[in-house]
Symmetry: C2
Subunit: 408 residues, 2 copies
């Protein structure tokens, strides 16, 4: 009867996750927040409906986050990186360096945390969530405004640099820090990235149409899954995070986007598997620890740094678009969404993050995500169109189709 | 690093499964045969690349077979059952009763096996594989011939009756046979079936469009997965096989087929997950035991009964179409494909089937599937069209669109 118990557990988690996601969608919030809250509610630290995590559930959750990052990668081409424009590149770089530095300094110098914890907090503050930002902009019907294009172009670079940082940080978590190890990890991650960006991309562009020769019922899907799982396992084996491999696999395969529309084929996998990751991630959050005064103090400081370290440098980098537009760009870069949470989950599992810091980062990711939609609505209020496109329409639009207008 | 090991195992299995599937496709055989052979090759009884089965792999395989049967259910509506025509119904009934009886008698009276083993062998001989039959007919470009429509109409009834038998047989495997238990299981299975066929179908037809009110990004997909997992877990809990619940969930949701095209949305899940089930099923096959003279004797007898018990009664039931057509219908009902294998796997896990009988049933399923394509090619040779449709085109065609012509 064990198989039945697993099915029942999966049924219960998926049901609750989708109900919470539906409620969030109806109040114009991303479903992922509902999934995290469900996890916090049914986890061992609250209702206890899920006791610890079974090996089966852990594997399904891992597949969920791997395919999620693969799908994000599929929406970002290496060739797009060269085309995001100088403003977007400046916004991205300043929005990567500042949070990493400030997050590390806050934890290490102000609160006296160890270097490993501080590095993870810094890394969790880096990545802007492409998903949340794009969905908010699409919901507002503003996906084609110049500010949106700068934000989304910058988010692409953010993702790549954020995952590069995560690769190094998560590598150092296994067995402490040493200068040699850091250099080896940076070299590995850089080689992995550069090799795939050059050789991988070129191979895929020149010979990607060979995928059509596969005669299986859904050949391109099978090839995509094989490359995704293969690079994820390879990244894990050489000490990087598995999701880094999955993301880069997606970017390489994104070169064949017009031909195979792989995102469409992968999306049902993500729709089914990813909620398990976020519910499981939520189960590790100790809601009661967030009431502890010391945790509230650190949490408030982390949240303030998280907002300021994106809003100010990104806004300044976009100042040539005008003051209002700079404020919009800075605000649009604030949500951390699922990416900050994924970094925290990796830190927790590696034993590098204590429970309370983990809970703080998850709460920070949720709060930065909650703040932005109403803020953008106010900032854009004179440009809001009456008919916003539905969520389903954003898929092919939230990657910039060309350089932002100011570079033309 | 445990997560990485799981990813590596999944990568390896999926890679080998798809390579074997591709090779089979190229020699015009169903990919599932390649997946079973890969399993037998890398399993603990041969190369030993996979040692036993991890909990994670078992759960993923279970999900694979659950979604596979859900997808098969989605292609069969309860309302189609009433429309398959009298010839198809006669073919189906004679093709269910004869193999069940002969399979049971062969094992119980001739080879002296216990009642539980004999019941499982009978049940494994019942179900015609809709997938294999339809693909062969589509590959030959003959999906719209009258014989094809009778075969496919009969296969729908076959599936339903076969799973009803499986529900009862697998229930009796848990804790032996008793008259009371058999009656309870038959009542349960019949109630489950009739309740879903009447109330479920009516609810879905009248109120199925409510699914459209779900605002999640892929609402119909989420609702479908929830109903599938819920009924699968429920079926498992009341002592039926989980796949019976998944199949009936598919049949109920098939009523909304035109509106939501759920098969399309579920197929990527099946494409990813089902190969793990068949590879894992293959790992339990002991190829060497198939060389044992006693096993060869029993296996030969089972194979002969498997062929004769479909060919003769189904052919006789279709005799009014003419002799050649009756022979075609009888032949088309022979492949057991994945359904026989699924029944055997459930019997093995329930402890009701010994290893050698399990291997015999898997071999029988493979052989009946291998024999039919060349036989149909010979029988249809004067009607073969030069341009066969591609495999991808069969999806919406292999369910009869209306009653077979002779009933009009």
């Amino acid at each position: 009867m064990h198989a039945t118990e697993v099915l029942y557990e999966l049924f219960l988690i998926f049901l609750l996750a989708r109900i919470a996601g539906e409620l969030m969608t109806r109040i114009h919030q991303p479903p992922v927040i509902g999934e995290l809250l469900v996890g916090a509610l049914i986890g061992p630290k609250a209702l206890g409906l899920i006791h610890g995590e079974s090996e089966a559930l852990a594997a399904i959750a891992e597949l969920g986050v791997v395919f999620l990052l693969f799908e994000v990668g599929l929406e970002n081409r290496f060739s797009d990186l060269r085309r995001v424009g100088t403003t977007a590149a400046a916004v991205a770089l300043s929005g990567v360096i500042t949070p990493m530095l400030l997050g590390f300094l806050l934890m290490n110098s102000v609160f006296g945390s160890g270097r490993s914890v501080s590095l993870f907090v810094g890394a969790a503050l880096v990545a802007t969530s492409v998903g949340v930002t794009a969905r908010v902009l699409a919901d507002l019907g503003l996906i084609r405004e110049i500010e949106s294009r700068v934000i989304l172009g910058a988010a692409v670079i953010d993702d790549v640099l954020g995952l590069l940082i995560l690769a190094v940080v998560s590598g150092t978590a296994q067995g402490g820090l040493s200068a040699v190890k850091v250099v080896v990890l940076i070299a590995e991650a850089a080689f992995f990235l550069v090799f795939l960006a050059t050789v991988g991309t070129r191979l895929m562009r020149r010979h990607g149409s060979l995928i059509d020769r596969v005669r299986l019922a859904d050949g391109p899907f099978a090839v995509g899954v094989i490359i995704c799982l293969g690079l994820a396992a390879l990244a894990g084996t050489i000490g990087l995070a598995a999701i880094v491999g999955a993301f880069l696999a997606g970017m390489v395969l994104a070169e064949t986007r017009e031909q195979f529309a792989l995102e469409e084929r992968i999306r049902p996998l993500t729709n089914f598997l990813a909620p398990f990751f976020f519910v499981l991630t939520g189960t590790a959050v100790d809601v009661r620890s967030l009431g502890n005064p010391r945790v509230i103090g650190i949490g408030g400081a982390v949240l303030a740094v998280a907002i300021a370290a994106k809003l100010i440098p990104c806004g300044l980098a976009a100042l040539k678009l005008g003051r209002r537009s700079a404020l919009i760009v800075g605000t649009g870069m604030v949500p951390r969404g699922e990416v900050g949470i994924i970094v925290a989950a990796i830190g927790l599992r590696a034993g590098a993050l204590p429970d309370d810091v983990y809970s703080i980062i998850v709460a920070m990711s949720i709060l930065t995500t909650l703040i932005v939609p109403p803020a953008l609505r106010v900032l854009f209020k004179d440009r809001l169109v009456p008919q916003a496109p539905t969520i389903g329409e954003i898929t092919d639009e939230h990657v910039p189709a060309g350089p932002p207008p100011e570079d033309r």
